[in-house]
C-alpha cells in the first residue's frame, strides 16, 4: 500500500495536473485517462524512487507524454475507420476577447468542478466524474463506494466524458450570467456525494466514511476557492456539523442511534466548533440560501448540551424559512417533527396528514418513521407500532430496517 501522505499528495495534485494538461492540449476525455495513468505511475514509482522535487511538474510531463501516445493511437484508429474527428466550433468560442477578461486567472480546479457538473450530464455521471477528475479516485474506488460493478462505473465515466466533449464546453469558467446556476449544480453534486456516504441508501453499512470524507475534502477545496460565497460556506458547515455526530450515530453493533439518545460527549467538538464558526460568519452576509439554513439548524442541534435542552422553537422557525426558499417534502417532514416538539405531537401529525398525499414522499420510509415517532409521543402505541413496521419494510439499508423493527418491537407487548 502506498503511504497515506503520498496518496493525499497525488489526490491533491490530480485536478491541478488535469487542469494544466487540458488547458494546454484540450481533449478533456483523453487527457483525463492520461492523468489517471500518470497518477498510477507515480503511485508505483514514487514509493521506490522517492517523490520528485517538483511532483506537479513530473505528473504534468508524464501525463502530457501519455496524452500524445493516446492521441496517436486514437487518431490512427480513426483514420483506419475513415472517421475524422471533427467538431463544429461552438458559437460561444467566438466570443470577443474582452469577454474573457473576468475569467482569466480562474483556478483550474474550479473550472474542472464546473465541467464535471455540466448540465449536459446526469447527476450520477456528474458525481462519478467529479470523484474521478477532481477527487483523483480510481474508477474501482468509485465503483466500490457506490456498490456497483467496476465495468458499470467505467461505462458511466466514459459516457460522462463523451457528454462533456459533445457539449462543446471550453476549458474556461462559465459565463458570468450562468455562474449562479452552475455553482448550484456543483454544490448539489457535493451534497449528493456527502449524503450517499452519510445516509448510505443501500448496503450493509449505515455510512460510508470514505465518501463523507471525500465530500468534505471537496467542499473545503471549493470553500478555499470561493471563500466569500455564503452557500459554499453553508454547505461545508452543514457537512461538518452533520458528520460531527457520526461517532455517536451508531451503536456497538452498527445499529442506528437516534439523535435524542446519542451520547453527546462522543460528538466531534472540533468539527462542531469549525462548523458553527463558518455558519456564524456566513449568515449575516447577503441572501441566506438553503445550505446555510440547514447548517444553522444542524448548529442548533449540535450546540444543545442535552436533547431536552434543544431550542426547538428556533429550529421550527428555521425550517419555516427553509420551506419558503426550497419547498421539499423531506424538509416538511423535519418541520413536522420540530412543530411536534414545540406545539405537541398532534400538531406534527396534522402536518404529516398533508404530506401523505405528496407522492414524492408518501411511500418513503421516513414519512412512516416520523409518524411512528409522533404517534408514540401522542401515546398511541398500537398505531405507532404499525407505522414503524411499515417504515421498516420500506427502509433501504439494513441498519435502518433493524432500527425501525426494534422500535416497533419495543411497543409490541404494551
Amino acid at each position: 500500500m502506498p503511504d497515506p501522505g503520498a496518496e493525499d499528495l497525488l489526490r491533491r495534485l490530480a485536478p491541478q495536473v488535469l487542469g494544466a494538461v487540458v488547458r494546454r492540449y484540450g481533449h478533456f476525455d483523453t487527457a483525463e485517462d492520461a492523468v489517471q495513468e500518470a497518477l498510477l505511475a507515480a503511485s508505483v514509482q514514487w514509493p521506490a524512487a522517492g517523490v520528485p522535487a517538483d511532483p506537479r511538474g513530473w505528473l504534468i510531463k508524464v501525463a502530457s507524454r501519455r496524452l500524445t501516445d493516446l492521441l496517436r493511437s486514437e487518431q490512427a484508429r480513426q483514420r483506419r475507420e475513415d472517421a475524422v474527428a471533427r467538431w463544429v466550433l461552438p458559437g460561444e468560442w467566438a466570443a470577443p476577447a474582452a469577454d474573457q477578461a473576468g475569467r482569466a486567472g480562474a483556478d483550474d480546479t474550479l473550472i474542472l468542478l464546473f465541467l464535471c457538473c455540466h448540465p449536459a450530464l446526469s447527476p450520477a455521471s456528474q458525481i462519478a466524474l467529479t470523484l474521478r477528475a477532481v477527487g483523483g479516485l480510481t474508477t474501482a474506488e468509485i465503483a466500490r463506494a457506490f456498490l456497483v460493478p467496476e465495468a458499470t462505473m467505467t461505462r458511466r465515466i466514459s459516457r460522462a466524458k463523451q457528454g462533456i466533449k459533445a457539449s462543446g464546453a471550453p476549458f474556461s469558467m462559465p459565463a458570468p450570467g450562468d455562474l449562479a446556476v452552475r455553482l448550484a449544480a456543483v454544490l448539489h453534486v457535493l451534497y449528493l456525494i456527502f449524503n450517499e456516504g452519510y445516509v448510505s441508501t443501500t448496503g450493509p453499512d449505515l455510512q460510508r466514511a470514505d465518501l463523507v470524507a471525500e465530500a468534505i475534502r471537496l467542499a473545503r477545496l471549493l470553500h478555499r476557492l470561493l471563500p466569500d460565497d455564503g452557500e459554499v460556506t453553508g454547505l461545508l458547515a452543514l457537512m461538518l456539523l452533520t458528520d460531527a455526530r457520526r461517532p455517536a450515530r451508531t451503536g456497538p453493533h452498527g445499529e442506528l442511534v437516534p439523535m435524542a439518545e446519542q451520547d453527546r460527549s462522543r460528538w466531534d467538538a472540533a468539527a462542531i466548533a469549525e462548523g458553527v464558526a463558518l455558519i456564524t460568519g456566513a449568515l449575516p452576509r447577503g441572501a441566506t440560501g438553503p445550505y446555510q439554513l440547514q447548517a444553522a439548524i444542524a448548529a442548533v442541534h449540535d450546540e444543545a448540551p442535552t436533547a431536552e435542552a434543544t431550542d426547538w422553537p428556533q429550529i421550527m422557525a428555521l425550517y419555516e424559512v427553509l420551506l419558503r426558499v426550497s419547498e421539499n417534502p423531506v424538509v416538511s417532514l423535519n418541520q413536522a417533527v420540530a412543530v411536534a416538539m414545540v406545539r405537541g405531537p398532534q400538531a406534527g401529525l396534522d402536518l404529516l396528514a398533508g404530506l401523505a398525499s405528496d407522492e414524492r414522499i408518501a411511500s418513503d420510509h421516513r414519512l412512516h418513521a416520523v409518524r411512528g415517532h409522533l404517534l408514540e409521543m401522542a401515546g398511541d402505541p398500537a398505531a405507532a407500532r404499525a407505522a414503524y413496521q411499515t417504515a421498516a419494510e420500506r427502509a433501504l439499508s439494513l441498519p435502518q430496517q433493524r432500527y425501525l423493527q426494534a422500535r416497533a418491537n419495543r411497543l409490541g407487548d404494551r
Binding site: 492540449y25 500524445t68 492521441l71 490512427a76 475524422v84 474527428a85 471533427r86 467538431w87 463544429v88 466550433l89
Partner: protein
C-alpha cells in the same frame, strides 16, 4: 532582411525521437537526442550572438494540432488532421541576414546536425524570404 528557416517532420519522426520503434526509421537513443539538443542550442546561440536571430520555436507533436476549416459556412475543427507519415512544420527560425545567400548558408549548417544513421535521409529544410510589407505581396 528577414528569412524563415522551416524544418519539417512527421508524427513518425516525433515518435522515433522519443525512442519508439518506427518502421523504416532509426530509433533515437537518449544520447542521440541529447547530442541533437546540444547542437540545436549551439546553432541558435551562435545566431543570437551574431545578432541574426529574431526568433526560434519548436512545435509539439502533430497529433496535438487542430485544423479549422469552413464546412458549409460553419467553422469546423479537425483534431489531428495529418496522416502519420505526412511531413509538417516541426520548428522554425526567423533570421535577419544581409542576403538570401547568407540565410541559406545559415540553414546549411543544420545539415551537420547529429543523429542516428539514416535519420536525416529524407529531411527537408526550406528557406523563405519574409515579406517586409504588404507592398511586397502585391504584384
Amino acid at each position: 532582411m528577414k528569412y524563415m528557416i522551416l524544418l519539417y517532420g512527421s508524427q513518425q519522426d516525433y515518435d522515433a525521437l522519443t525512442g519508439k520503434a518506427v518502421p523504416g526509421k532509426p530509433a533515437w537513443a537518449p544520447a542521440d537526442f541529447a547530442a541533437m539538443g546540444a547542437f540545436m542550442a549551439e546553432f541558435s546561440r551562435d545566431l543570437a550572438e551574431s545578432g541574426e536571430l529574431v526568433e526560434t520555436r519548436g512545435l509539439t507533436a502533430p497529433v496535438h494540432a487542430r485544423r479549422l476549416q469552413l464546412i458549409q459556412g460553419a467553422p469546423v475543427v479537425t483534431d489531428g488532421p495529418y496522416a502519420e507519415t505526412q511531413e509538417v512544420l516541426a520548428g522554425y527560425w526567423i533570421v535577419d541576414c544581409e542576403s538570401f545567400d547568407r540565410a541559406t548558408q545559415v540553414a546549411g549548417r543544420l545539415a551537420q546536425c547529429p543523429g542516428p544513421a539514416g535519420a536525416a535521409a529524407d529531411a527537408v529544410i526550406d528557406v523563405r524570404p519574409v515579406a517586409e510589407s504588404r507592398d511586397e505581396l502585391e504584384v
